[in-house]
């Protein structure tokens, strides 16, 4: 009986697929950021971020092209450090959050580049519009954390045109695009 059990469990272990390392983005400990910056009048930068989002990725340093990431952002959590402006950003002039409460990014392919950098292609859905975007990304590091876990971190940047995502407000010629900056730290599951 014991032998049978052992055999069964060994067999079960053998049939498990090769483990790609899966990570959950550390939003719990807030070691991940979805930030943006947009020119104000062409004279300076306005910074903002989304406070609520979640996501996970799978990544193996040896098989970078197999890596995947998906991210869901709660658009109502937009925060530019000014309640009146945030109210405006949530309105129909910008993000339409009552109609489109979620923004999502799902990766489609990865093109490795020099060193630790790569292009992360994927579909970004924002304000109800889905567009193919390319995020210029970089691996920042990975390894054991001091508390018994294993972490990997990445940063990426892409520039979006407001018009492409049906954002109606016209902020002027210098402010027609917004730069999206993502920093994600994942904890291996």
């Amino acid at each position: 009986m014991k032998k049978l059990l052992l055999a069964a469990s060994v067999a079960a272990m053998m049939t498990l697929p090769a483990q790609a390392a899966d990570y959950v983005i550390d939003t719990q400990g807030a070691h991940a950021f979805v930030q943006f910056k947009i020119s104000h009048l062409g004279y300076s930068w306005l910074y903002g971020r989304f406070n609520t989002f979640s996501g996970d990725f799978s990544y193996d340093a040896d098989k970078l092209t197999d890596a995947k990431i998906q991210l869901t952002i709660d658009t109502a959590s937009v925060d530019s450090n000014h309640a009146e402006r945030d109210k405006h950003l949530r309105s129909g002039d910008f993000l339409n959050v009552s109609k489109h409460p979620k923004a999502t990014f799902v990766s489609t392919k990865i093109v490795p580049k020099a060193g630790e950098t790569f292009d992360l292609h994927g579909k970004l859905t924002l304000n109800g519009v889905t567009k193919e975007v390319v995020i210029a990304a970089e691996k920042l590091g990975e390894g054991k954390d001091p508390w018994g876990g294993y972490r990997a971190g990445f940063a990426g940047t892409t520039t979006l045109s407001l018009k492409d995502f049906d954002i109606k407000m016209d902020l002027g010629p210098a402010s027609s695009t917004v730069q999206l900056d993502l920093t994600v730290e994942g904890i291996r599951k």
Binding site: A76, N81, H82, A83, E84, D86, K87, R90, M169, D170, L171, G172
Partner: protein, 182 residues
């Protein structure tokens, strides 16, 4: 002359009434216009500033008005008014007071969620209480919008009723609001 009597409105009540009337319609027009201004419009920053400043001043005027009403109660309705007219006008007038109060409170809550004070024409600042509940600016914004339309609808009804008394019933109701004695 300043105080109301049993049959007529004194100067103070008359002035307060028309000051509030002009402010309410002015604030509505400014508010309606400013939310759709182009970012590069020269009015984009000034009109909201005036709107908020005037709103705060209106709150002070309303406080004075309520105190004055308590100190010098308004005259009784005209004898010629029918029962339903007296009842309806009392309800509408009460709703107008409540509506203005709601507009002032909701407007204040939109602008102060993040702890920023409201500058009144640069003369003085009304300090913020910060966020009192979640989604404060958004919820207060919806209240501000819906109450604004309701308030204006009621104010128009109030004005049309006055015109009805003046032109159809040919009584003293509207003239009284300009301080005329019977």
């Amino acid at each position: 002359m300043y105080k109301n009597s049993q049959s007529h409105y004194g100067v103070v009540s008359v002035l307060l009434h028309w000051l509030v009337a002009i402010s309410v319609f002015g604030l509505f027009a400014a508010g309606f216009w400013m939310v759709d201004l182009n970012y590069y419009s020269q009015w984009y920053r000034t009109v909201p500033h005036w709107h908020k400043s005037t709103g705060i001043l209106l709150a002070i005027v309303m406080l004075v008005r309520l105190l004055w009403r308590w100190y010098s109660p308004p005259p009784a309705a005209l004898d010629s008014h029918r029962r339903w007219e007296k009842k309806t006008s009392a309800i509408v007038q009460c709703c107008l007071y409540v509506g203005i109060l709601l507009m002032v409170i909701s407007g204040y809550l939109i602008s102060t969620e993040d702890g920023r004070a409201i500058a009144v024409f640069g003369w003085f600042d009304v300090p913020a209480l910060g966020a009192l509940f979640t989604n404060q600016a958004d919820i207060a914004g919806l209240v501000h919008e819906y109450v604004a339309y309701s308030l204006i609808a009621l104010a128009v009804l109030h004005g049309m009723a006055a015109l009805k008394h003046h032109y159809i019933d040919r009584d003293h109701t509207l003239k009284r609001m300009f301080g005329r004695k019977p």
